[in-house]
């Protein structure tokens, strides 16, 4: 069952188009992450789903009902904010039950819900404290608790972890995942952090300039990016996008890196083109992730090159090496146990089963 559907949604702030004809559907129980750089429109989209922002064009459906004009409180949603937005003048208990009180829920029901949620989130000890007396992680729990007691159809999260320090962020991320696994409620989650998106989401919508660039599972987003934006945005370091041309002769399709004079031809015969017939001589990007450049041969189809290591960045468990590939900079990622000297050539293997190819004109996957 489709819990949330967004249809042809557009939104302008003055003359700037924040959202352009957004279409999105999410099945019940899924965890949708809206991911993108700041200013891409993801928070606006979330606010529109919540009913906190008006719609210029298009429709929002929750459970098949058009809720475009419905007040936030009547949309059957709950939201967790980046700043937690706990009411400073109320204690934890009052914060958590405020929504239920507004909807005239019976006292017994309120008590019951409060008890259930506070023990579930381990905040029972904190009920009489004011938000100012809580740590960041505790505030986060209370904010989630406030959303939980309402038993909403959809949970909305607006960058809930970005005010926490790195260690706590990882912990809370895991808790949110657990929460979703237990409750199986539909979630829409906004973040700019790709790790959060990949680890939490069952579906990810990557946004840029008010347009959804790709809406897919985390695996597909990582392995088969739709366009160079997605390819570049996901992964750290980003995917290498090597300039070059497509060459087609007889049944062989191959990639010729810029400045290689045919000699560095890389065969694309095993690559799954989106549409097969491609014109020879087209400018393309050959995309390969740093982690798919190996220092020893793993597959038969691996493509062997000899490259000079120019720069070494040691980051503990691994090292990132900058190589010179026909005067283009490409990065490779290796375990830090591999011995690599800068200034020396080394034998490398491109894993051709993991590559992506993009048209240089449209920036789209081909």
């Amino acid at each position: 069952m489709i819990t949330l559907k967004v249809q042809d949604l557009s939104k302008n702030f003055g003359s700037t188009e924040v959202l352009k004809k957004i279409n999105l559907e999410i099945e019940e129980g899924n965890f949708l992450v809206l991911l993108g750089p700041s200013g891409c429109g993801k928070s606006t989209l979330l606010n529109i789903i919540a009913g906190l922002e008006t719609i210029d064009e298009g429709t929002v459906f929750i459970d098949d009902y058009n809720v475009s004009e419905v007040e936030p409180k009547d949309r059957n949603i709950a939201m967790v904010f980046q700043s937690y937005a706990l009411y400073p003048s109320m204690n934890v208990k009052e914060n958590m039950v405020f929504g239920l009180k507004q909807s005239k829920t019976s006292k017994e029901k309120i008590e019951e819900q409060l008890k259930k949620v506070s023990s579930f989130l381990h905040v029972d000890e904190l009920l009489n404290r004011k938000p100012s007396q809580l740590s960041g992680g505790q505030r986060q729990r209370v904010a989630i608790g406030r959303a939980l007691v309402r038993e909403p159809r959809i949970f909305l999260f607006d960058e809930p972890l970005s005010n926490l320090d790195a260690k706590l962020r990882v912990e809370m991320r895991r808790e949110i995942k657990k929460l979703h696994q237990t409750l199986k409620t539909t979630v829409v989650y906004v973040t700019h952090d790709q790790t959060e998106a990949m680890s939490l989401g069952t579906n990810i919508a990557i946004m840029n300039h008010g347009v959804i660039q790709q809406y897919d599972t985390p695996e597909n987003i990582y392995n088969k990016p739709n366009n160079t934006f997605v390819a570049d945005f996901i992964g750290s370091p980003s995917m290498n996008l090597i300039n070059g041309q497509l060459a087609k002769e007889a049944n062989n399709v191959s990639f010729i890196p810029e400045g290689s004079n045919q000699s560095g031809k890389v065969s694309l015969n095993n690559y799954n083109f989106v549409k097969s017939p491609q014109e020879s001589g087209n400018d393309i990007y050959f995309g390969i992730r740093p982690e798919h450049i190996h220092y020893k041969k793993t597959n038969d189809t691996d493509f062997e090159v000899n490259l000079r290591a120019d720069l070494k960045e040691y980051v503990g468990h691994e090292q990132i090496i900058t190589f010179n590939y026909y005067s283009q900079e490409i990065l490779g990622k290796f375990p830090s146990t591999v011995k690599i000297e800068t200034g020396q050539e080394m034998k490398l293997f491109f894993d051709l089963s993991q590559i992506s190819v993009f048209d240089k004109k449209t920036n789209k996957r081909i």
């Binding site: 409180k73 949603i77 937005a85 009411y87 003048s89």
Partner: protein, 291 residues
Amino acid sequence: MFKWLEKNLPKVVLAPAVGLISWFVYGFILWTLYISFTNSKILPKYELWGFGQYTKLWASRKWLIAVDNLLIFTALFLIFCIVIGIILAIFLDQKIRAEGVLRTIYLYPMALSFIVTGTAWKWILNPTLGLQKLFIDMGFENFTFDWLVNREMAIYTIVIAGVWQSAGFIMALFLAGLRSIEDEIVKAAKIDGANLFTVYWKILIPMMRPVFFTSFVVLVHISIKSYDLIVALTQGGPGISTTMPALYMTQTAFHKSQVGLSAASAMMMFMAVAAVIIPYLYSELRRENVS
């Protein structure tokens, strides 16, 4: 010598300000304090006379009226300024068209001197040609409005003019306070189903506690110091019915030449202000140190 100067330059630069304030503020207050314990008349005398001036002060009918008036004025001035200030701030915060113009109108009296304010209101409240005539012309034939010359009511005319002058400022303080609240709080409340009234009453106004405190201090401070407005509006009259401590102090010193008594009244005012200001400064500094 040069080396010393170079090293202590910051302190040397600070010296004029510190010196001037030590002398003109602290020295002078001590001098006034000392004089309040002497029997100084037209010229200061330096033999101590004990608490005589204070006893005399608190036995003086005029001073007691002044204190009474101050209490009445402060209470009403506080209530009206804060209530009007909050209402205007909340209403202006609702994405009002022409907010800028309205704000400018509410606040412009603050740019005027109390003498100008007093002069204007004196004319408006004028019992023959002022508001009274306006209402009679409008058809309320038996309307009388003589507060300005009525012993019982004259103090309220000072409240009317004072509120007119200062309410806009309180509005500005509250508006700034409301605007500094993160909008996520309001969003959260909307999702929780709170209506506008509940949002303000239960969430935003309780968050304005520091603004209430500041407004309280500012307004009490203004009212203790009220002088110009009374001079311009009533000169303390009719009779002495609108005398306030600040007016009492200057009249006693410069018209009655009772320097010692006047110093005692000045010290009473000083203590009243200190009682309000010191806790305020303390809390402000603590807040600054925390953040």
